[in-house]
């Protein structure tokens, strides 16, 4: 069952008087109990995709096109930096009880009890004590658990996670990812998880969408995309991650930098950094969506190779 479908999302940002299209026809869907991982370098528009889906674009950015279907389900979001994303002047319990009460009504005391239950559910030890703490008094891991509890307090059907583990060390990273996975399985949540870290995506995602320069360039089941990548950018991205379980290769950062939104074209945007371009890459390349489970990429070279082989 599809809980969230985003179709041809376009977002533009105003910079010095000109409108720059920074998200260019992004389409994806997520079903109950499914985890979609969106991966890409910083600046590719993956965080903006989540913000646009949530309807919380930063000032200066506007949605110029596209369709977001959420059905009856609610959306909630978990942010990257739990230090900045929790109100510093409010005790954790006050905030959490506020959110619970807005959603479910009831007395203050009942909201407080539910807040404690929520904290316990996300694995915060000693929840009654933690409810009285201010965010700065908590450790990074606990803070991120609190963020997740806040999101869950709104009874969402889909959870949008923006780099939820980037600010944490590796051990905590694994714990938070496990927590998200449990929440997904137990509550039948749809999860959209955005990360620049292929290892994180590999750990939790069923479906993967690779974003580059405001577009999805490759999408499909996680195993297909990450193990048999079609797009040279995906290959480079995976190559740029030191891998422990795969064959040990040298760490190779991708040479060059992503293009500025001011010079986005219909041609392949990875061409300047790609080793194997020809005339076909300079023409319009096909758009890719992650609405179903077929493995596809926008690389024209790959599809021609593919045709030649078949």
């Amino acid at each position: 069952m599809t809980l969230l479908a985003v179709d041809e999302l376009r977002v533009s940002v105003r910079r010095r008087g000109t409108e720059l299209t920074v998200l260019d026809g992004v389409s994806f869907a997520v079903g109950a109990g499914q985890c979609l991982g969106i991966v890409g370098e910083s600046g590719c528009g993956k965080s903006l995709t989540l913000r646009a889906t949530m309807g919380l674009l930063p000032p200066g950015a506007t949605r110029t096109g596209g369709d977001i279907r959420v059905g009856r389900s609610g959306l909630a979001m978990v942010f990257q930096d739990s230090h900045a994303s929790l109100d510093p002047t409010m005790r954790v319990g006050t905030f959490l009880a506020d959110v619970v009460r807005r959603r479910r009504g009831g007395t203050r005391a009942a909201a407080r009890r539910q807040a404690a239950e929520l904290l316990a559910a996300v694995g915060v030890p000693d929840p009654d004590l933690r409810l009285r703490a201010y965010p700065h008094e908590l450790s990074g891991g606990t803070r991120q658990r609190v963020s997740i509890a806040l999101a869950l307090a709104t009874d969402p059907r889909v959870l949008l996670c923006d780099e939820p583990t980037t600010a944490l060390d590796v051990t905590l990273q694994a714990e938070i990812l496990r927590l998200l996975d449990t929440a997904r399985a137990e509550r039948g949540l749809g999860v959209v998880l955005v990360s620049h870290d292929v290892a994180v995506i590999r750990q939790v995602a069923d479906v993967v969408a690779v974003m580059y320069a405001g577009q999805i360039v490759e999408a499909g089941p996680a195993a297909d995309v990450l193990d048999r990548p079609q797009h040279p950018y995906t290959r480079a991205l995976i190559g740029a991650v030191p891998s422990l379980d795969g064959p040990v290769g040298p760490f190779r950062p991708i040479p060059g930098a992503p293009p500025d939104p001011a010079v986005y074209t219909p041609a392949c945007r990875f061409l300047p950094r790609c080793g194997h371009g020809d005339a076909a890459c300079r023409g319009p390349v096909p758009g890719v969506h992650a609405l179903d489970l077929r493995h596809r990429s926008s690389c024209v070279q790959h599809s021609t190779h593919h045709k030649e082989r078949t």
């Binding site: 949530m54 919380l56 930063p58 000032p59 909630a76 979001m77 942010f79 930096d81 900045a84 994303s85 929790l86 109100d87 510093p88 002047t89 409010m90 506020d98 959110v99 807005r102 959603r103 201010y134 700065h136 963020s147 806040l150 999101a151 307090a153 709104t154």
Partner: protein
């Protein structure tokens, strides 16, 4: 209060000492800056040589500067601010007599400027692109460049002279009269102080509005007035209070101007008239008092902001 907080308070109190010392030094040294012989100036133009010498001895002006400084300090410690040159009245008595009007005025100005600035700031921060906000911002640019005495005179011209609704000046005897007589001065000082206040408050609101934690609150479905009240104002208050205290000096200067314009018998009007009549001891004492007032306001603002912030546990 935790040990960290106590240490913070102590550290902030210690910071005041050099500033206070510098203020005292400047106030005492002002005399040295006066062109000509201070004793001659104070004795008056018709004084004989003997009288001038007498004045010099009386005031200790023949002593070395550090002894003068010490003498001033010891007198100060006993609550003795010296005597007026013109009238011979002890300055402490003058201050006691005149402080009331100034305090009334400051309170009135604070109320009016806050009442005017708060809605303007909310408008400019929350609906920055609206026509109303643009008009508001432009009017503030003009208002900030209006000399306070001119605002006062124009208000008086319309609301008092032409219509007779309000008294033009004076301080009133009964409580009701006093309230009525404070309307125009408070309005003037409020209008003069409001633009800077509104701008800085709008600035800190805008900053909070863009903060990640406000996005979090909005993502959790908290919008509208609850968002403003529970999350925006709480976080925008400390920087606004700090900015307000930084502008306390300007507010006090505004009070001086307004007292002079409306003939309010306050400390500021006394400072101006003493300066006009070259009454040095009064100017000296009032400079010291105003200076201490501002240092105190800044100190209180810093302490309250720091102590209200749950994150304060400095060093």
């Amino acid at each position: 209060m935790s040990a960290g907080r106590l240490r913070f308070v102590a550290a902030r109190l210690v910071q005041v000492l050099p500033v206070l010392t510098a203020l005292l030094l400047i106030v005492v040294l002002l005399q040295q800056l006066m062109p000509g012989d201070p004793a001659r100036v104070m004795a008056g133009p018709r004084a004989t040589v003997e009288q001038v010498a007498q004045v010099r001895r009386d005031l200790g002006l023949d002593q070395p500067i550090f002894l003068q400084f010490w003498a001033y300090l010891t007198n100060l410690a006993e609550g003795d601010l010296g005597r007026s040159n013109r009238t011979g009245i002890p300055i402490s008595a003058i201050v006691g007599d005149r402080a009331g009007a100034t305090l009334w005025l400051m309170a009135g100005g604070l109320i009016v400027s806050t009442a005017l600035a708060a809605p303007a700031a909310l408008l400019m921060a929350l609906r920055p692109r609206s026509v109303a906000a643009r008009i508001c911002a432009r009017s503030l640019t003009i208002l900030v460049n209006c000399p306070p005495f001119w605002i006062g005179l124009m208000l008086a011209s319309v609301l008092a002279l032409r219509t007779g609704w309000l008294p033009v000046g004076g301080f009133g005897e009964t409580f009701g009269e006093r309230l009525r007589s404070m309307v125009l001065p408070s309005l003037t000082i409020g209008l003069a102080a409001m633009p800077l206040l509104a701008r800085s408050a709008a600035g800190s609101l805008r900053q909070v509005l863009a903060a990640d934690h406000v996005t979090t609150a909005r993502s959790l479905g908290i919008t509208g007035w609850p968002l403003v009240r529970r999350h925006l104002l709480r976080n925008a208050m400390p920087p606004a209070v700090t900015l307000l205290s930084v502008q306390a000096a300007a507010l006090l200067f505004g009070a001086v101007v307004v007292e002079q314009t409306f003939g309010l018998p306050g400390l500021g009007a006394e400072l101006v008239s003493a300066a006009g009549q070259r009454d040095f001891p009064v100017v000296q004492a009032l400079t010291l008092i105003f200076g201490c007032g501002i240092i105190l306001i800044n100190l209180l603002a810093d302490l309250s902001v720091a102590l209200l912030d749950p994150r304060t546990t400095w060093r």
